[in-house]
Symmetry: C2
Subunit: 357 residues, 2 copies
Amino acid sequence: MGRPISIEISTHKKKKPLENERGFGIHFSDHMFIMDYSEGQGWHDPRIIPYQPISLDPAAKVFHYGQTIFEGLKAYKTGDGRVLLFRPQKNMERLNRSNDRLGVPHIDEEIALEALKALIAVDQDWIPEESGHSLYIRPYVIATQPALGVDASTDYKFMIIMSPVGNYYPEGVNPVKIYVENEYVRAVRGGIGEAKTAGNYAASLKAQEIAKEKGYSQVLWLDGVHRKYVEEVGSMNVFFKINGTVYTPALSGSILNGITRSSIIQLLQEWNVPVEERVISIEELFAAAKSGELEEAFGTGTAAVISPIGELNWRDEKAVIGGGVTGEISSKLYVTLTGIQRGLVPDPFGWMVEVEI
Amino acid sequence: MGRPISIEISTHKKKKPLENERGFGIHFSDHMFIMDYSEGQGWHDPRIIPYQPISLDPAAKVFHYGQTIFEGLKAYKTGDGRVLLFRPQKNMERLNRSNDRLGVPHIDEEIALEALKALIAVDQDWIPEESGHSLYIRPYVIATQPALGVDASTDYKFMIIMSPVGNYYPEGVNPVKIYVENEYVRAVRGGIGEAKTAGNYAASLKAQEIAKEKGYSQVLWLDGVHRKYVEEVGSMNVFFKINGTVYTPALSGSILNGITRSSIIQLLQEWNVPVEERVISIEELFAAAKSGELEEAFGTGTAAVISPIGELNWRDEKAVIGGGVTGEISSKLYVTLTGIQRGLVPDPFGWMVEVEI
Ligand SMILES: Cc1ncc(COP(=O)(O)O)c(C=O)c1O
Ligand SMILES: Cc1ncc(COP(=O)(O)O)c(C=O)c1O
């Protein structure tokens, strides 16, 4: 890459969380990656340093105008000690699509990937080995220029931090109850919903909190225009099996283009399971639930991989899906994808990328 | 307030920018205010300290999920050396409305106002005296909990920073050219458009950049549902005088409830100028421009106070407003509001709050 990554090894190693203490994104590994951007100079000074607080001017644009984007992916340790990443190039491509939408300068995808691998190599003993556990990787960019004018920053930091994460399903994969959100909207076409950027998550906090209070684990977002078409569930894409065909909302401009989502579409096609991307209305889903044709529903994303949905609540009407138990396709997708990710089953699409450690 | 504000005076005074160097939000005064929040303990440790970088964990939620809100107001110095604030309670009320939407704990409005006044008193020699100049004040809250789960933070910082700002109109108030945005959307009903939070500004950067490249100074946002109704212009509310009546978009849920906006409505009512809040379509505006009935248009906000609009471009059709010169009502509002703010004309509504210095 012309600009080698400098590495400063931490002299004070942190205590690693025990298997049952991991949680999600609470503990962080010993090192982090940083690279700076300034106008004129471009991206420079890529470095791995001990995990440490960062110091920013109180006027840094990230605090005021949310010019920030991020990614999320995982490193897995296989039974024979290899380290695998799931389609990391896709994350780096999406990183730059998000950058485009937010007016953040592009990052060389090769350099970002190299940085990520170098950081993993340094902190390889942070990758959990237990089944269902992994090292969650968070690349992100923040705008650092200390100036209150509402325009794109002249300065940025690209960082990568990593967190050992526990099993999303400590008691086995179980369907969750989902609250269909009628009042709040996550994103609208023309907005920033397609980008992985802070504002979308900020917009989701309130609805998520209310749903939790009502006993639901996530929110199903409807589109902001008609308040009728299904978009995403929490921070996951969503799929529905109706009468033998699997449907997922088409990428409309307000939905994140999930890497798990596109992998699932590929797997289903490979298995000759009919799969379609199209608009799906909430009425259609409730009608299909009533007639017994709504066979399965599940969310998809890096964190949970597959999250089966057992119940939808829409304006206090409830639809129980698949008798509230995990469906066949959901199970098969979960087993296959997590199997590929841990190197347990063949990887027909060449998705996994090995990290040299 | 029970918890006195501790004050640490800076031993190293910064050089103040000269009159023509001020710009907007580039230079910051010698001190800042901070107060911390943690779950269980609530808001605590209010303090004024020398302006300095803040140190945050790289996993702090503000970097990832944009849980942040802010305010903006100004302190003015009068000819006889008094320091005035324009309706600061309104900012603190809005701060808490934004907090509500973003799941941020409320801040005692009295304490926030007291903090603001104390900070101004400490840095009073940073308030410019020249006409059109002022001290811009930025209260804001950021989520600081170092955790990647998408939910409301357990920890926050409330800060206030201040910046001496120059005349928005160094060459006199002149109408600007505005680009009506067709592709990008700033906010939608049900989203966070009503709150003063980072995500809305992040969503605006790209459109703003494109408009600038095309030679326009700001974007006029249309609603995200019909792409037809006028919402705001850049970071300002917007008014149109059509056939003797002044119209401004009704607060629909996606528009910021501007303090300048509501003050202007009050002033117009006082002057017996017909004023109405309602939906306004872009077609209506272009038809009124064609028939000669669109007499004036202007943006309103803390930064510019009044920003007259001389031209709108919508899908490459241009509407010139008021012959491209500043209209009578725009001028009168500008002179009156800025006069009240600087203590030059009577303050019939008791808007101004004096800071004891
Ligand atoms: C809003 C949103 N939708 C969907 C997804 C799923 O994307 P991926 O499968 O790439 O993790 C994510 C991220 O996990 C997300 O944040
Ligand atoms: C999006 C937006 N609209 C309108 C305004 C005007 O509000 P105010 O008059 O309270 O400054 C602002 C802030 O200046 C803003 O950021």
